[in-house]
Symmetry: none
DNA sequence: CCTTAAACGAGACGGTACGTCCTGTCTTCGT
DNA sequence: ACGAAGACAGGACGTACCGTCTCGTTTAAGG
């Protein structure tokens, strides 16, 4: 008997849902992650607390969905990386952009909020991988496959591993604030990865 | 007027300090990071709340110190990696051990607790880098320098970068639970890093 | 604009009405007056909340009607007190029965519930007097009038006052739990009242 | 093991206690009994909710104590009824005053609030009898004993019963709003009681 | 007989209050 | 004098109900 007594999705108020997700995003930006309470979200959204508890199991889930909403608006389906035929140039472009994004304070607060929730919530982490990380990773892997066909990358390279070698150092530096996220650093990561996985 | 009314370190009760740090470690292991409150620590340690607030500025700081205590007991100063002369073999040994450690549930909970605190607290992150990460990283870099002298690693390689390429993918996989931390995976990371930074 | 949008009595579902009143009585007996909520009544009766709000203005009104229902079943119209010709004996019989009834726990909970509602709701109090108290009082007064004709009671006695002197002490003792409701006590009240109002 | 973990009376803040009881009295007068919530009391008193829950087990208990406070201020110890030697005159004076008091709207709301709480809470009812009713009743009984010595009241009369016959009808009329509380009514009750219990 | 409008069950909604837990500060008391 | 014990104001938690408001679904009257 799965889902006994789950609320009826069809009766859900889209207006409330949007108000909640918007209020959540605003609050994270304004007061910072630590002070985003369910009570504050409900008050700002003009919504009863129960309406939040009815549809989300935890504060983390609300925060997550407030992100998902944005990324669906932004990325959508047709996400693709540049493909000029020059893998190194294309990757450096993308990695420099990623480094710049991480350095943007506007971007920083919500992403740290999301990561803080993910660290201790396996379910949320799974959702993160499926709904947010995978689509982006697939776009990146598509570019890498193109490079394999062009002979710029080892044909037998494990693309997940390639992505990790490229991005994980950047992510870790950002998360632990263990060093500056410069363009030079982005380039150095691309160089290292290409040396490791050239044909 | 600097430090007006700062507690007098010399009068600090070592007994209370130990009881607090031990209680913190126990609580993280038993009830999980989210439920570790100052009140619970004080109760478990048989200590007044004020004694905690007097010596630590935040919950994160207590958690951090409870770690530091452990690592000082364990690592101490004379931390060193194996050096058989075979860099690849030595690194694979260490990386496999690291992967195994990350997979150990006993180890997992406290480390996740620590990371959750670090993500949103720059001061704590700095302490983490200085007191916990650096000693370990220095030991690793000592081994890499030995490899450079032996001609097994590019002499001009940025050792911080080498460490990141080696460890960040593992760390990210663990943090986001995005894949299994097997011995094969550890080996693959070592192989990739050595390809990227061979002489 | 009288009665705009008043529900149509003729279409009222008798089945729902009965289910609601029965559920109310059951809940008062089972969980006690304080925990009888509209929501609980609706759930127990298998009825929508709106069906309750459509026909009753307040929780007190539902509780009141659940009583009224019972008393109509029981008393009906032809309620009469024994009349053997001996007023003292007849009154002691009735008063002892009343005292016993008040002492019955089965009887107690619902009557306390009703009184709690009445204390702070004048409208409900009026209904109580009209629908529940008056019929009973009229029957009692009929017996007293018979006694006046038989010369056992002062012809000019205010019968409402006589009833109050008889019953109010019993009621107050029960309400405030200020003493035992024994047969002796019932007799003493009858003796006092008869002394006060003998011809 | 009685009283395990009961709060320490000696550390209690008298300031908070007074603020709570005062706020409670004000709220009952202003918004009426039904809308006096713990939350409203705490807000008005400038007190945390926990400080209320720490010292009182229920809303009723707070309301009760807010009364007790008043009556201690007012009545104190030296409460006594007039004793001119003329029992009938003295009683009529007191009964008329009581009837007038009951008719005063200022007096009415809080007393109804108290009675509503008492009806369904035996513990509170016991406190009411001990702390509020008994001192008053003792003063009344002292006057009646004086009358017995003066030969104005049967020497063997049960004084509790006399008090009930005198006061319960008044109380019941007021509680159920079943009739006007006039001076004539007060006199009639005194007359009836004196007839019932004259020597 | 078939329409049609109501009453119905269900339950989501914006809210209020609940009673609990914890925060960070302040006070008391015993050692 | 120090430190355990814990009361305090405050604030958020997650739950229970409030009374209102749709939703489809009976259901019974009247055209």
């Amino acid at each position: 008997m799965p889902n006994s007594r789950r609320p009826d999705e069809t009766r859900r108020s889209e207006r409330s849902r949007q108000a909640i997700l918007t209020a959540t995003r605003e609050l994270i930006s304004e007061v910072g992650y630590g002070k985003v309470s369910i009570e504050a979200i409900a008050a700002r959204a003009g919504v009863g607390k129960q309406t939040i508890y009815r549809w989300w199991p935890s504060r983390g889930a609300v925060i997550f969905d407030s992100f998902l909403e944005l990324s669906l608006d932004a990325g959508g389906e047709g996400m693709a990386l540049p493909d000029t035929g020059d893998l190194e140039a294309d990757l450096k472009l993308v990695m420099r952009a990623t480094a710049a994004e991480f350095a943007d304070p506007e971007f920083e607060r919500p992403v740290r909020a999301l990561n803080a929730e993910i660290v201790n919530d396996p379910g949320l982490a799974a959702q993160y991988r499926e709904k947010l990380a995978r689509p982006v990773d697939e776009a990146k892997k598509a570019r890498l496959r193109s490079a394999q066909r062009a002979g710029q990358l080892a044909a037998d390279a494990d693309l997940d591993l390639v992505l990790e070698v490229l991005y994980a150092p950047l992510f870790q530096r950002w998360l632990h604030r263990s060093g500056p996220l410069t363009a030079e650093y982005a380039d150095a990561l691309v160089d290292a990865a290409l040396r490791a996985f050239r044909p």
